[in-house]
């Protein structure tokens, strides 16, 4: 029972935006300007004043919540992500990301819910406060700040709101703060990122985010100037979420992913990467499982 139509104008604008991105000529070389040949994916870039990067991403994941045969919900989620990052100064990056969220939720009562809608807009800033290692700046230490803005519309399908888990956003403001360290030692690259998130106010259906701490350790080795392999350990601790003041027993806990990946430099400023996050440590609370996450990105540096 479709009730909300995606305005065609938005699809058109999306296409126009991508059309505007197509390079009319090879005008720049991001790795040259960064002074480092490391193939750096989104969030791992070496800064220089005036750098501008646009990224289109893809993510697919599965999640199950509840007890089989009783109240289990199975979620399939795909996100198309469009992001823009800009370095107005050599020590400052500003970014914005908008996901388009496709979700399909299957309930134990044989019913299902489906959503295709924009997710919450996310803005972030990174300040590269400390750089050392000579002119090559082998070591970077930065502070991150971000904000997830509740721009997603609560989906209803002409009735009461759909299940919270199928909503494209949470309806809640979620700030984040963190630290990022990177070691550029071509052909090697290593980064460590620690981020804390918390919720402000109340979201859809009385939702209150329980908070999260993410720790990510990544190693990358360039096999050639155009190909690099990655291996990361991505871990996340979540507090328990509340709905209308009642704690969700199937929320929160700890999960760790082992993430192999591949980065390919297609041409001078085009970068393609793919990663697979495989859950290897699962200590989530209650009846809650997360499956493999597949990510892919295409980036272009102007």
């Amino acid at each position: 029972m479709p009730v909300r139509r995606r305005p065609p104008v938005l699809v058109f604008l999306w296409i126009v935006a991508w059309g505007a991105l197509l390079p009319r000529a090879a005008l720049a070389c991001a790795t040259c300007l960064a002074g480092d040949p490391t193939l750096s994916t989104l969030g791992l870039e070496k800064p220089y004043a005036g750098r501008l990067r646009v990224t289109a991403g893809f993510l697919h994941r599965t999640e199950t919540v509840g007890v089989a045969g009783l109240n289990r919900k199975e979620l399939n989620e795909t996100r198309a992500l469009l992001g823009l990052a800009w370095w107005p100064r050599s020590r400052l990056a500003l970014g914005i990301q908008v996901p388009w969220v496709f979700k399909h939720l299957t309930r134990v009562d044989t019913g299902s819910e489906r959503v295709s809608a924009p997710g919450d807009l996310q803005v972030y800033a990174r300040y590269y406060g400390w750089q050392w290692g000579g002119s090559r700046r082998h070591h970077l230490l930065a502070m991150n700040a971000g904000l997830r803005i509740p721009t997603a519309v609560e989906q209803t399908a002409d009735g009461p709101p759909l299940d919270f888990d199928v909503q494209p956003g949470t309806g809640q403001w979620v700030p984040s703060l963190g630290l990022w360290y990177a070691l550029y030692a071509y052909p090697w690259f290593t980064s460590l990122q620690l981020t804390g998130q918390w919720g402000l106010g109340t979201g859809f259906q009385g939702y209150q985010f329980g908070g999260a701490v993410n720790l990510s350790l990544l190693g990358q080795r360039a096999l050639t100037q155009r190909l690099a392999i990655q291996l990361a350990l991505d871990t996340r601790w979540n507090g328990r979420d509340d709905y209308h003041g009642r704690t969700d027993p199937d929320s929160g806990g700890y999960i760790g992913f082992l993430t192999p990946g591949l980065v390919v430099n297609l041409s001078e400023d085009w970068l393609v990467s793919a990663r697979v996050q495989v859950p290897v440590v699962d200590a989530l609370n209650g009846a809650h499982e997360e499956g493999i996450v597949v990510r892919a990105e295409v980036s272009y540096d102007f």
Partner: protein, 257 residues
């Protein structure tokens, strides 16, 4: 690339991003298994909503109910009806001091968790929708009705009488053959009643092919005072018997597709 050109690209993309974020998207929902619970309150021959309710118990005592509140705490579909307590009418009545955690059973899709305060005098001859649930597929053999004290979320909770933290409130008059005039009585309690567990006439199969059912319950208030000495309502034994009768008066009126 010039600085201006970078800005031109950046602003174009930024504009597209912001406009995209303003979209509303589309959504759809495919209904699953749904079971509706209803309560039917017989009028006993009187017009709907007529007050007060008058009837006679098995001892020949004439009783007039002016107010009769009970709290239906929840209804639960069950697939296991093999226990000795699961009969067409309750067989045990000594264990209704069941600990009653007052949290609503909101996470179990077999439970209709919304409590209702029912006033049988005002609602006699009417039907009330108690709520709908979306249980998993299966074969269900019966329903369990819990009667507990009201909390602040109870639907239809009155201010007068103060029913919060009460499971039953009764007010009326009675008259035996030996009495010249009716005597008033008031009874109220916050105790948890023995659950009313009722078998379906035939097992109820719920599946993607048979996704809908309607379970209708009924409360027969005219049997509440059978065997009860109304002059001794302070006596715990008489209270136990009255509460047992109330629980036993919850019947299964029907199961329909």
């Amino acid at each position: 690339m010039t600085f201006e050109r970078i800005h031109g690209h950046g602003l174009s993309i930024l504009l597209a991003l912001l406009l995209t974020a303003c979209g509303s998207g589309q959504s759809s929902k495919t209904p699953g298994i749904t079971v509706d619970f209803n309560l039917e309150i017989p009028a006993g021959g009187a017009p709907a909503g007529s007050k007060p309710l008058a009837f006679r118990n098995t001892e020949g005592v004439d009783i007039v109910l002016e107010q009769a509140w009970v709290v239906l705490w929840s209804q639960t579909l069950t697939a296991d009806c093999g226990g000795p307590e699961f009969v067409r009418r309750p067989g045990r009545w000594l264990d209704w001091w069941i600990s009653s955690a007052q949290a609503h059973a909101g996470s179990d899709p077999r439970v209709q968790p919304v409590p209702h305060a029912i006033e049988l005098v005002a609602e006699s001859g009417t039907r009330r929708a108690l709520g709908a649930i979306h249980p998993p597929p299966g074969i269900y053999c019966g329903v369990r009705v819990d009667l507990r004290r009201a909390d602040a979320d109870t639907v239809g909770l009155p201010e007068n009488p103060p029913l919060l933290e009460r499971s039953v409130f009764l007010q009326g008059r009675y008259r035996t053959n030996a009495m010249q005039a009716p005597a008033p009585f008031v009874f109220e309690t916050g105790r948890t009643l023995i659950p009313a567990q009722r078998l379906f006439p035939t097992p109820l199969t719920l599946s993607a092919d048979q996704p809908h059912a309607r379970v209708t319950l009924r409360i027969r208030y005219d049997r509440w005072f059978d065997g009860v000495e109304l002059s001794r309502l302070d006596d715990p034994t008489q209270q136990d018997l009255l509460l047992y009768n109330i629980s036993a008066s919850v019947e299964l009126a029907g199961v329909a597709r």
